[in-house]
Symmetry: C2
Subunit: 346 residues, 2 copies
């Protein structure tokens, strides 16, 4: 059988209607719905075909039809192709520049949640190819050093280093010089064991400190493996959609949404970015591999703040989701995020 144009129109009509109402769509509704003046009986025949092809399904005999995952997929693919051509008029979602990356991310995810009415999340960017900008060791106490590591993009990491023995100011100065000379300007990925060993040699009795500083650098680029930074907002939005609001489902979703590391893993998987063109990915039902989300769709976009700091922003909602609006919002936010550092030169 062939998915001819008329079938496509009908399918699209079914999906659109279902997105709005959340109720199974009957043949009569479609027959009244649209330009193609067909009787409900004809529609019924076509619907039977569409069902056979797997694009729609019937919750029970004598109910209307609802889209299957396959149906959604077709619809979404089409939608994204269209959006791709559209010139995006950037709505003014104000991303004020704050010096704290964290605040900005929290703000962005709040905006997304309130614009879309879906549960939203964003991962803090991970660093891919940034250069070290600056290292500062300071003596805080006789046997305690504070290490501050600054990476391009003004990402900071502090570490308190406990020493086995006291250290004098002069040695601290020397270490500072040594570390900055050797490491500054180097992309983090290029720091290797050779360099570390060389520095440790030069540091002499203070080689322990070099090790600790390198650890701090490592931590900077690999933030909290176990507990990766993901910010969320609008979890309660899932209660807007009856199909997710029953106790069982809601509980599972809230739980998943609270478990940042699971979210991070999920969003991490999406980083591959197949569709280079827009960077928007849509995962319908089981496509996410997180089983609590089998009744959900997840839409994500990867952003790149510049300087190789990349993260993912996305929403979770019911399968009958206002995909068009979500894609718009994500594209806009992505565009803005992409230009945060680039344009402002911050």
């Amino acid at each position: 059988m062939d998915l001819d144009e008329r079938k496509q129109i009908i399918l699209k009509a079914i999906i659109k209607t279902y997105l709005e109402t959340g109720e199974p769509v009957g043949s009569r509704t479609i027959s009244k719905y649209t330009d193609l003046n067909l009787s409900s009986a004809t529609i019924r025949n076509e619907m039977a075909d569409l069902e056979e092809m797997g694009y729609i399904l019937q919750p029970h005999t004598s109910a209307g039809r609802i889209p299957s995952d396959k149906g959604y997929r077709l619809y979404v693919d089409e939608l994204i192709r269209e959006k791709d051509q559209e010139v995006l008029d950037i709505k003014e979602m104000v991303i004020t520049k704050t010096d704290r990356l964290e605040k900005m991310l929290k703000q962005v995810v709040k905006v997304l949640a309130s614009n879309t009415n879906y549960a939203s999340m964003i991962t803090a960017p991970t660093i891919h190819r940034n250069a070290l900008k600056f290292i500062q060791l300071s003596k805080v106490r006789e046997d305690q050093l504070l290490a501050v590591v600054v990476v391009e993009g003004n990402l900071l990491k502090n570490k308190i280093i406990e020493l086995n023995e006291p250290i004098d100011e002069e040695s601290v100065l020397k270490l500072n010089l040594l570390l900055n000379n050797e490491l500054c300007g180097k992309p983090i990925g290029e720091i290797n064991l050779d360099m570390i060993t060389k520095m440790k040699l030069q540091a002499g009795m203070h080689s322990q400190i070099v090790g600790s500083v390198v650890d701090a650098v490592a931590e900077t680029i690999k933030p909290d493996e176990e507990d990766r930074a993901v910010y969320t907002s609008g979890a309660n939005n899932i209660f807007r959609y009856p199909e997710l609001a029953d106790t069982q489902t809601a509980s599972e979703l809230i739980s998943t949404f609270e478990n940042k590391s699971e979210l991070a893993d999920m969003l991490g998987e999406f980083q591959d970015d197949d569709e280079e063109s827009t960077g928007i990915q849509v995962y319908i039902g089981d496509e996410t591999s997180v089983k609590t989300m089998k009744d959900c769709s997840v839409v994500t976009a990867n952003y790149d703040l510049g300087n190789g700091m990349r993260g993912t922003i996305g929403i979770i909602g019911p399968k009958r989701m206002d995909y068009a609006n979500v894609v718009d919002n994500l594209k806009t936010l992505k565009t803005q995020l992409d230009s945060v550092f680039n344009e402002k030169g911050k």
Copy 2:
């Protein structure tokens, strides 16, 4: 009428049973329940009295009785008095010392949630009387300084200061000296306008920087007024309790729970600490002033890490809550938190 001993025993039995089952308790249940061998009829008479006195109520005629807020209050007060005398055997809830305060708080709140099966939260400590320990300005770029402020207890704050004009290394050194001389060792509360003006004078053309550093200090002690750090865990636990799990209530609670600033406000109110003895406070129903929580009880404890860093830890659950267990857990965690810095001398 008088709340004699027998009435008290019956009331306690009713509450205990209700805490376990969540269903109205009938006279027959109590009659079988306990030592006082009384027939259900007698119990019924007593129940009628208890109802008249306001300790219990009937959801509808011909249903059993459930505790009223007044009843809970009596029960809880009693409980806390008992617990107060008990020598608390500290279960080994491992609070591993991590150098990152944040991680520790997240861990603690997770422990609490999983031990109690209630939604849990903890506020990051606010600083009350800490002394400044260390200030470090570093030149990151020609027109950019990095300020690091360390407060007793190794709390850190970074701030990037954008300059209007370039600055030379020597000036940075001078500023460092000036700031450390003037401010180090001083309790933050004591830094006043006089001192700031004086420093600005001495800094001459770089007075702008002094201002920025002072700002950073201020930020350190007043972390994100608008968006205070509160960590939560176990939000999905509310679904365990049918009386909170209906869509409406759950949605509101999740929403409240996500709104950190509202939580912070609420927990902040509890800081007064009336009951110095244990520091455990229980708020039943409307006692919290947060209207979404009218069907909940909130139990909190204030902790003091030492160094005047105080915060609040607490749980939210249904009124029929296992108060005994919750109080135990809170007391244990409070004790551990109180000794984190003191004992380890960290």
